[in-house]
């Protein structure tokens, strides 16, 4: 491991952290004896949650609301998918069908995919991973959740009563003149949710810059932080443009000045430019946090340091930067100049480079690793496959000539679902499983976890692989009906969606179950490195009892040692490094599941 991978000496030390006493009675008004055990028990009433400034509690608030949004968007998707089982379905009227796919897109993009990982796992983990007590602006963090909720409620109300049939892109002049329903209200909802996202991003940037623990240099940061930082940069630079675009669109919808109306001199392509100046970087807002999670999972369950740390770290920044130069590939057939199209096409290919660096480095990390197929790892491996397919099909859409044929077909749908759902949602679920013991202090049933992960992957491929073929064969997106020859593939897709839905519903059930009946997790059930595992599970309100001092880089795993220790663990019944407590927690989970008993 030369200069690319930091610190070969990582392997010499088993502990990442030197806990150091500071010469202080770290005590405010609360006497030490009355300090609550952890952040969950520190205040129990609803007020202690709704007015909390604790980043971990805000993460939980976000987790609940984002899951609600996912349910709503999922139901809309299910209706759309069932409607497409037959060429001329009468399940939904065409008008309702349009409203359904619009609701699905709007809810999933603005209220689920954008906040999902940053606002939940990111909120929870960023301060923990950098050894801080909280984010730099806790009040702004809470404000961002309230803004999200206001946006979500406005959006959901508008979509429930009246709905919109514009699709999530709000293209003019459809959205400004011809669309039915509450376009204006939905715009307001998305506008407000945008500010929530901006505040989260801003908070992360400042936190990462200014609140790292002593000794935690930039190149000792976990890759999770690097990706989250890159995400936050995109949020800060792109989301405000969405805000002003939606505002202009709102004015146009309400007053019809003509700014996007060619009849009155405006240019509808301007809207598309401004919209995609946000929305293309926004797909990296959605998927970069997925990369963040995967880097943590792969290293932990391959028991190896990441291959090429600096490459992976800088590829996140590179993706963030390049993402701003490629939006024109959404406008290839929209009347954009052919020359601009060529430039955007070439630049779009560029973004494949840092993305591929990540995938190659993850697979290289697996090489000669001591791989454990725990649930998070199943999600992570699934992610690599799904994201690779999604990414590679993106190249077809980035190439100008192919896109003319594939534009607005199911090929596009399949492509971005592979990236957004196969990528982001897999990573999110993998991350939730990985950090669930840290967040709740409980283990989930491992068998159910793996089952759900496998189901999800199977269901996903069955749902979206046929859509690639449908798209190439020319089935257009956004229509309630289609030519009869497309029916077999559509039936496959709907069948897959059913399996996929099961794959999403299962974790909901057993994760909730584990809150009460799951085995008690120790501070570090995965024997992972990283500061978040150095504190108790669940963490105390201010995260660390002592300020951690970091002396080495992340991912201090050693696969050979791990194999030896694993064998010892098998022989002795407990892991030599943790005195048995952690393994006990893990084995009792398995027993509990096998015997249907509850522990703790």
């Amino acid at each position: 491991m030369s200069s690319i991978t930091p610190d070969g000496r990582l392997w010499e030390e088993h502990s990442l952290v030197d806990p150091v006493h500071r010469e202080s009675q770290a005590i405010g008004p609360i006497p030490e004896s009355q300090l609550p055990d952890n952040y969950l028990t520190n205040g129990l009433g609803w007020k202690s949650w709704l007015f909390t400034l604790d980043h971990k509690r805000i993460a939980i608030l976000y987790m609940i609301s984002v899951s609600m949004a996912f349910m709503v968007g999922g139901i809309a998707a299910a209706l759309v998918r069932f409607n497409l089982m037959t060429p001329n379905s009468e399940l939904l009227r065409p008008q309702t069908y349009n409203k359904m796919f619009s609701a699905h897109g709007i809810v999933m993009v603005f209220f689920f995919l954008v906040p999902v990982i940053p606002a939940t796992l990111g909120n929870f983990l960023v301060p923990l991973m950098i050894g801080a007590k909280d984010l730099a602006f806790p009040k702004i963090n809470l404000l961002s959740w309230y803004l999200y909720m206001i946006g979500l409620i406005i959006g959901l109300l508008a979509l429930s009563f009246g709905g919109v049939d514009t699709g999530w892109t709000f293209y003019a002049p459809l959205s400004t003149q011809y669309a039915y329903g509450n376009v204006a209200l939905v715009l307001v909802g998305a506008f407000i949710a945008g500010f929530s996202s901006i505040l989260t991003g801003l908070n992360f940037v400042i936190t990462v810059h200014k609140m790292r623990a002593p000794g935690l240099t930039w190149f000792r940061l976990p890759l999770f932080i690097w990706s989250m930082y890159a995400t936050s940069l995109i949020i800060m630079l792109a989301t405000p443009v969405l805000a002003i675009t939606l505002l202009l669109l709102l004015m146009e919808r309400l007053f019809h000045i003509g700014i996007f109306d060619p009849k009155l001199g405006g240019d509808p392509v301007l809207l598309q430019h401004l919209f995609w100046f946000y929305s293309h970087p926004a797909v990296y807002i959605m998927v970069l946090p997925g990369f963040a999670v995967i880097s943590e999972l792969i290293t932990c369950f391959a028991r190896k340091p990441i291959f090429g740390y600096k490459f992976v770290a800088f590829s996140s920044i590179a993706i963030a930067v390049i993402s701003f130069f490629v939006w024109g590939h959404h406008l290839f057939v929209a009347g954009q100049s052919a020359y601009a199209g060529i430039v955007f096409s070439v630049l779009s290919f560029l973004v494949a480079i840092p993305s591929a660096i990540k995938v190659f480095n993850w697979t290289a990390t697996l090489y000669k690793g001591s791989i454990r197929l725990d649930t998070p790892m199943v999600y992570a491996l699934g992610f690599i496959v799904l994201f690779t397919i999604g990414g590679l099909t993106g190249l077809y859409l980035a190439s100008l000539s192919a896109d003319v044929h594939l534009s607005d077909t199911y090929f596009v749908i399949a492509h971005f679902h592979y990236v957004m759902v196969g990528g982001t949602v897999s990573a999110y679920l993998g991350g939730v499983h990985y950090w669930w013991p840290k967040i709740t202090g409980r283990m989930y049933p491992e068998g159910w976890g793996r089952t759900a992960a496998v189901l999800l992957n199977l269901g996903f491929h069955l749902t979206f692989m046929p859509q690639f073929i449908l798209g190439v064969n020319g089935m257009p997106r956004r229509y309630a009906t289609y030519a009869p020859e497309f029916q077999p593939l559509n039936i496959m897709s709907t069948a897959g969606a059913t399996v996929l839905a099961l794959g999403y519903l299962l974790p909901f059930c057993y994760l909730l179950w584990s809150l009460k009946y799951g085995a008690v997790a120790g501070p570090n059930p995965w024997r992972a490195t990283g500061l978040e595992w150095q504190t108790t599970s669940p963490p105390p309100t201010f995260n660390f009892d002592k300020v951690p001092i970091v002396t080495i880089g992340p991912y201090a795993y050693n696969p050979e040692d791990d194999e030896r220790l694993y064998e010892e663990e098998q022989r002795n019944g407990h892991h030599p490094l943790d005195g048995g407590a952690l393994v006990q927690a893990r084995t009792t989970t398995k027993e509990a599941v096998a015997g249907g008993e509850s522990v703790g």
Binding site: H209, K210, R212, A213, P214, G215, L216, T217, W218, L237, V241, V269, L270, H273, L274, F277, F324, F325, W327, G328, L331, Q336, S337, A338, Y339, A340, V343, F344, I549
Partner: protein, 125 residues
């Protein structure tokens, strides 16, 4: 930051110089900058009064170029002295430039579309 965030040694030094020393800008600097801003305001008006599209200039876009140059100069003065970026750490420099730099990306790339739309000969309709 007691233990500090040693991004680089240099960064630490700057940060210390700025905040440890608590740089206080003398009032005379503020007054000078304000005077300069006033002068620039007068120049803006004077330049606008001349129609550069007519002889002897014959450059229709010169008016807007001058106006924008002066506006940028004003903005730079305000950012450097009133917002004290001149006396701030490198990271503040970076943040103060970032927004404008990114905005120029947006301008450049969207305009690349509008500017080149006429380049390709149109097929007769």
């Amino acid at each position: 930051m007691a233990q500090g965030v040693p991004v680089t040694e240099i960064n630490e030094e700057i940060a210390h110089d700025v905040h440890g020393g608590r740089h206080i800008v003398p009032v005379s600097v503020y007054l000078k900058v304000f005077t300069a801003l006033m002068v620039l305001l007068v120049i803006t008006l004077a330049a606008a009064a001349i129609d550069m599209s007519k002889p002897p200039f014959n450059m229709p876009s010169l008016n807007i170029i001058i106006a924008m140059t002066i506006a940028v100069a004003k903005a730079v003065l305000i950012v450097l002295y009133f917002m004290e970026v001149r006396y701030s750490s490198r990271i503040t420099w970076l943040f103060s430039i970032a927004g404008f730099a990114w905005l120029s990306i947006m301008f450049a790339f969207i305009f690349s579309d509008y500017v080149s739309r006429g380049w390709l000969p149109q097929a007769p309709r």
